[in-house]
Symmetry: C2
Subunit: 221 residues, 2 copies
Amino acid sequence: MDNFSTAQENYLKTIYHLQQTAETVSTNDLAAALGTAPASITDMLKKLSKKGLVSYKAYYGCHLTAPGTDKAIGIIRRHRLWEYFLSQKLGFSWEEVHEVAEELEHVSNEKLILKLDEFLGFPRTDPHGDPIPDAKGKMVQQQQISLASLPEKKAAVVTQIGNQSPEVLEMLDEKNIAIGTRIQVIKKYPFDESMEIKTDNRHQSHITRELSQNIFIKGSS
Amino acid sequence: MDNFSTAQENYLKTIYHLQQTAETVSTNDLAAALGTAPASITDMLKKLSKKGLVSYKAYYGCHLTAPGTDKAIGIIRRHRLWEYFLSQKLGFSWEEVHEVAEELEHVSNEKLILKLDEFLGFPRTDPHGDPIPDAKGKMVQQQQISLASLPEKKAAVVTQIGNQSPEVLEMLDEKNIAIGTRIQVIKKYPFDESMEIKTDNRHQSHITRELSQNIFIKGSS
DNA sequence: ATAATAATTTAGACAAATCTAAAAATAATT
DNA sequence: AATTATTTTTAGATTTGTCTAAATTATTAT
């Protein structure tokens, strides 16, 4: 009753993520996110529904039940702990960690994750700044203030990346921006809402609105 | 052409191990080792044979081809590196590592294993003393001298455990014997071929013939 | 409000890995 | 060498997760 296939875990995790922006998750959205045909989604939702992990009504999408949410958070916990491990201990770059963590997250030994968490020093965020749920499933979601809203002259520290696609991560690498980087706004251009910034490692860069909206920060007090 | 299912990897690994004691591996032996019905073994051997990983002739068993052997050694490498990681970094006991490594070994990212190997300091033996193949598949198999053949008064260091069943490992734990433990024979009893030994951690124990034959050693020069 | 469009589900099929029961081949025994 | 026993294979089914094509339901636009 507590054993799930890799496929099922991926469904739960993906439904959880899609639920962050919409109450209910549609069959097509899930299909797009998983790269699976909509008909297959319907089949799987019926199975997960029978198991009590999602609440599903035909033609009206689905959402996670309480047990389903717990399970999903557990998978996300594993994923992010492995990302942290790959980044901090094995020296992987932040573009690389996601793919490998996608595999490691399905290794489901309870003690392994507890010991790994301890070994890593109970980290609270992964290499992209996303919060890592603790053993009880609790995670601290910090304020989502984007770089776009930081006024001229002001400085702040990067805490999280919104869109974590390879394209975004590549740009951030080139501009020497990572989690923990201190950024100061030199000049904002109202015309296209782009900005000139300076990072703590003496780099100066031009940031478009699109990119600045995906860089989340906290005051550098 | 280079992607294998968990099931297929388990077949290759198990055939490799069974080949250590017999040239050719029979369907029934494989079935017993994998806990799978003989009919299923036949099916899978046909698939692996078509892929060129095993050489299989109906009614006459199978053995690994060169590519199959390479693949099997790769899986064993992953398994033993993870065992080392679990034991040395996460503090798992040697009875526990095998089961978890059985899952982790199927995560097949090349770079992950190279980096893990480096992170662990390129260990050459796992927690049970079994050799870990290097990135090229090479492994050093040491002399298999068992404690049973060590003469009275002589001392030696434990290098490997033969039968790694939970039963054996539990006994060794109780007698404070692990890889690296220095053992001195105090007295041998010809009647039942048991012996009295002393370990470097001041413990004295009685060892039966059965157990002594599963403790491999090297001279403590 | 009805027709066109989009989303979703059903129906039927497939591949992978397994099973049981029965048939066939090999090995052992008298 | 013939019979018995053992091992292995074949045949037919099952489960899981997937697919395509067709049917159905919901939504949007005229």
